[in-house]
Each structure stands twice: as structure tokens, then as C-alpha cells.
Amino acid sequence: MNLNVKFMISDIPTVLSALPVTLELTFASLFFAILLAVLFGVCILKKIPVLKQFVIGLNTFIKGVPLIVQLLFCYYALPYVLRAFDGVLGYTYDPKHPSYFGFAVVAFAFNYGAYMTDVVVSSYRAVDKGQLEAAYSVGMSTFQAMWRIVIPQAVVISLPNLSNYFMWLLKATSLASVVNVFELLATARASTAVNYAILEGYLVAAGIYWAVCILAEQILKRINKKMNRYQKTVSAV
């Protein structure tokens, strides 16, 4: 087994330069996933007729289908959608430069949004009903009670689950390399095109993913600990 170690070391900066794209993809997907999850969660929690059933059906289907199929589906289907919007509100469809990054974000957002909907619903329900009543009893409006009392608690409850999904998402963004997004893995592959040191390129990518994951895990652990500092006093009573 003869690894081209020299190339591996020289390849690290090249692959690292694509790390921002991976992180961007992760955070953009996470943002829209949470947005969708909250939207879906409200539909389920408020028991909005038709929409609730639709959301539950959609989520069940999304969870049962491989992510790569969804990515490819968005990759092929979204250009048609964009073409339909050609000329609407000054938007011009440019078939020569499709936004592969955007397509991947849509796929990730729907996939992880479906999973996070459960987190949103369960953490909202986990907040004690008495909290809302107590907020009302001191004269808060519904919005105030939600914004100041219920939602902060629900966020704390949902954090461990959300950080889990964040880690999954971070690793899942590597799949976007299949649909023409130049993130970490695709860059690692492209960087080996000169000397066919394919394995070395992938090993470098794996090392960076590993390091980033360990780092992210530690950071999330800190955040979780910090957010839970109020919980302890409650449980101690």
C-alpha cells in the first residue's frame, strides 16, 4: 500500500478551501428546514383541516424516500418550476446557469424539515400547559405568552434533537456532490484529477469531515449545557 502522502498534505488547503461551501450549504439548509418545520408544526399543532393531513402525508412520504432520490428529483424537476416562473416579477430564467446549490438546499430543507417537524411538535407539547396558563394569569397576550414563555422553553427542549439533525445534515451535504454542487467532497475529487490519487483525495476529505464533526459536536455540547442551565434549578426543586 503506497499512499502519496506528499500529495495528501499539499491537497489539504485545496480541500479546506471548499469547507465554507459545505458549511454554507449546511446552514442554509438548516435555516430553511427549521422554517419549514415550524410552518408544518403549526399546521399540525393548530389542527388546520386539510393542511394538517397534507403535511403529515408529505412528511411520511419524504421520510420514506432516500435523500439522494430527493436530491436528484429537485435537480431535474426544479428547472421546470423555474421555467414556469420565467417573466414573473422581473425574474428571468437562465437555463445556462442553473443554481445547483439552490436545488440542493431545497432538497435538504424538505428532507430535514420533515424530520424536524416532529421535533417542533413534540417539544411544543413537552412544555407544561401550566406555563401558558400562568402567563395568561399575569395578563400576557397570546403572542407575549408564546414569545416569552412557551417558545424559549420549547427551543431548549428541542436543542439536543436539533443538534443531532445538524450533525446528520453536515454529513449528508456530501451527497450534494452527486448533483453538481462544488462542496468539500466534489472539490476533493476534482483536485485529484491531475495525478489520479483518488484515494488520497477522499482520505483528505474524510479527515476534514471527521475533524469538523468532532469540533461541531463539542460546540453543540457546550451550547446544550449552557441552554440547560435554567433547567437544573427546576429539577432540583
Partner: protein
């Protein structure tokens, strides 16, 4: 979109023929990983010796890197490992590489599910087992394994569903399963109807997942059949 549904109808039976292949790439890693995962779990709850750190490193690597990267590394790396011994495995079926990579990945996750469950079980139960004269094997077989299984099952179900969905990415190294075949059909029909073929594949994956879900639900009922008496 035009005449696309015809492509959907014509590709569906072709893809159905590859369901056994997908199930193969699902079941073989499942069986191997359950055994390997249980062993890893045993090492990781035991003494902190060299083996413990080695196994922990293994688990950390396979949990900390994307499955896709692992598949590539095994696909390109394994032939290089075998090369010095004069064994050429470049002609091996891509599926074998996929199974090896997935076993490493999946057993890491399974071991963590087992470990979490093992740490959650009441240790008095094990002592109670020894106190009535169980041997170590009997204690494992009649006390530890059922209790761990009962707690680990919901986690395991999610992992198994992820594993099935993960088989879809095997097509990137040329494995022909449902997704691999769908990719070939897409290649044959350059430039049109891809959405309908993917939709057909999506529906098949969804149906397999429904079956897995049902199997696990009945397993959960089986393992918690004693709960009612206590509650």
C-alpha cells in the same frame, strides 16, 4: 412532463425486478452489523484497554464522516491494501465494496444504539440473574439481551430505515439496485422524463420502508409483551 407518465408506468416493473437486490444490500449489512455492533458495544462498555481505544477510534471515524466518503474510500482503498499480497480485487463486484463500507458504518451506529440501551438497563436485573445461578451466557441470553433489545428497538428502527435509504447511494460506485437501475434508465432517456423514473423509484423505496416499519412495530410488541403485567 410530456408523456412522462408513460415512462413512469413502463419503468415501474423494471425497477420492481431490482427490489431483491436492494433488499440484499439492506439485509446482509443488517445481519453482519448486528453481530459486529454487539461485539463493539461489549468492548466499549468494558475495560479501557488498547482494544477499547482502537474500537472507539473506529466508531468515531465511521460516525464522524459521511457514508458516501466511506464508500469511496473502501472502493478505492481496499484494492490498494490487497495489492502487496498479489491479490487483485479490482474485478470484484461493486456491491461487495458497498457491503464492506456499510457494515463498518452501520455497526458503529448499531453499537452506539446498543451501548445507550445497555447503560439504561437496570443493573440490578443482571445481579438478580447471577443470584439465581445463571452463567454469564445465560445471563446475557435471558436478561441482558432482551432488556437491551427492548430499549434499543425504536433507535434501531430508525437506523434500519436509514440503512435502507442509504442503499440508494450505492449507485455512485456502480451497484445496480433499484436506484442504480433507475439511474441507467435515466441515462437511456437522455434529457427527458427523469422525474417520472425517480418518482417510480421513490414509491418503491417508500413501500419497502412501510414494510420495515410494520416488521419493527410487531417486534416492539414482541419485546414489550411483559410490560403489561408490570404496568
Amino acid at each position: 412532463m410530456w408523456r412522462g407518465h408513460e415512462l413512469f408506468i413502463s419503468s415501474l416493473p423494471v425497477l420492481v425486478e431490482y427490489i431483491p437486490a436492494t433488499l440484499f444490500y439492506f439485509l446482509v449489512p443488517t445481519v453482519i452489523s448486528l453481530v459486529l455492533g454487539a461485539w463493539i458495544c461489549r468492548v466499549r462498555v468494558g475495560k479501557k484497554n488498547a482494544l477499547y481505544w482502537l474500537v472507539s477510534l473506529f466508531v468515531s471515524f465511521f460516525r464522524g464522516t459521511p457514508g458516501l466518503v466511506q464508500i469511496y474510500i473502501v472502493f478505492f482503498g481496499l484494492p490498494k491494501i490487497f495489492e502487496p499480497f498479489g491479490i487483485n480485487i479490482n474485478r470484484w463486484d461493486a456491491g461487495i465494496f458497498y457491503v464492506i463500507a456499510t457494515c463498518c458504518n452501520f455497526s458503529s451506529f448499531v453499537s452506539e444504539a446498543f451501548r445507550g440501551a445497555y447503560e439504561a438497563i437496570d443493573k440490578d436485573q443482571i445481579e438478580a440473574g447471577y443470584s439465581i445461578g445463571y452463567s454469564r451466557w445465560q445471563c446475557f441470553r435471558h436478561v441482558i439481551a432482551p432488556l437491551t433489545m427492548q430499549i434499543a428497538l425504536p433507535n434501531l428502527k430508525n437506523l434500519e430505515i436509514d440503512l435502507l435509504k442509504g442503499t440508494a447511494i450505492a449507485y455512485v460506485i456502480g451497484v445496480v439496485d433499484v436506484m442504480g437501475r433507475a439511474d441507467k434508465i435515466i441515462a437511456q432517456h437522455r434529457g427527458y422524463g427523469q422525474i417520472w423514473i425517480l418518482l417510480a423509484a421513490a414509491i418503491l423505496y417508500f413501500l419497502i420502508n412501510v414494510v420495515i416499519e410494520l416488521v419493527f412495530n410487531s417486534l416492539t410488541r414482541h419485546y414489550s409483551r411483559h410490560e403489561r403485567g408490570i404496568a
